[in-house]
Amino acid sequence: MLARRTLACVGSQPSVLGAAPTNARNMATLRELELRLKSVRNIEKITKSMKMIASTKLNKAQRAMNSGKQYGAANAELFQNSPSEEPAKRKLFVVVSSDKGLCGGVHSSVSKATRRVMAEQKDLDPESPVMVIGDKSKAQLSRVLPKNMTLSFNQIGRDVPTFADAAGVTDLILKSGVEYDSITIVYNKFVSAISYEAATIDVVTENALKASSGFKAYEMEDDVTKDVAEFALANAIYAALVEGHACEISARRNAMDNASKNASDMINSLQLQYNRGRQAAITNELVDIITGAFHLVISDILH
């Protein structure tokens, strides 16, 4: 082993571009490790700050959600007393998600739920229109259900959704002239700060309300019935938007928390590897120098 080492070091100098293969490989790996370490450190900083931002936004979003859900609850009594007589054949699906990513499985949860609901109901019209709020779900659903997509919205969800957003969406839906028997809103329901699940809200249309026997007890004029149906839709969309927004923020907080934890684990293991590599390189250089010096001394003594 010593003879081989001597042969190698007589004609070599330990350097960055290293003639000896082991030295060169160590240096290259060390350089790579250093770069990787630097980039993972940056990523950890970024994900940590995103988590902080999401935590602060979560409080506001949750408060808005609690007060916004009351709007959805207002519809409940009306719909309970005047249920729809015939099952709806052609449903309009309104899918509520948002434009931004890095929030876990929020968007795909809503897209999958839409496809599941469409597949489960046997007598559903396969050309049931689908309208999507949010670019992420729009991209997913436009690949899977291209023929059903009629309208899409974006720029909602940067801040807490307002009733103005919901009213705007409702008016566009009504103005688009799409035909449907009832409306199903698909959104993410806030179960807790660490979990959410996809849920649906059914909204009855004006014609279905008029046809329902329970509704006759209310004795409403036609004009007002139309207003009630439109307002009920806006309420339901607003409740879904606000709850979906809260789910997205909590999912982003959790995702960034996991990412930061993973990044700090990676930093620890990479740091250990780097230290080991650095110490091995130093040890090798020392051995080379000492062996070289040793042989010089020996040859001085012998000659």
């Binding site: 997509m149 103005a164 008016d171 566009l172 806006a234």
Partner: protein
């Protein structure tokens, strides 16, 4: 009530948004600033035909910028 003519021009939602805007503009200055935030919407929409998205249009065009961004 039934002689209201706004019904032929826009929906009840639009009617309530207009009333809300009037109410917000009549508030005291500090309250008005808080309330204005609740009336903001930057909504953009696009129609889809046969799996192809149309042009994206702002519902309320923002000040001083071109409205549509084609996609």
């Amino acid at each position: 009530m039934s002689s209201a003519t706004w019904r032929s021009h826009f929906t009840f939602n639009r009617y309530s948004q207009i009333c809300a805007r009037a109410l917000r503009q009549s508030l005291k200055e500090s309250e008005r600033v808080k309330a204005e935030k609740r009336g903001l919407t930057a909504l953009r929409y696009q129609h889809w035909e046969n799996g192809q998205g149309g042009e994206q249009v702002y519902l309320v065009p923002p000040e001083g910028k071109a409205a549509a961004g084609a996609k």
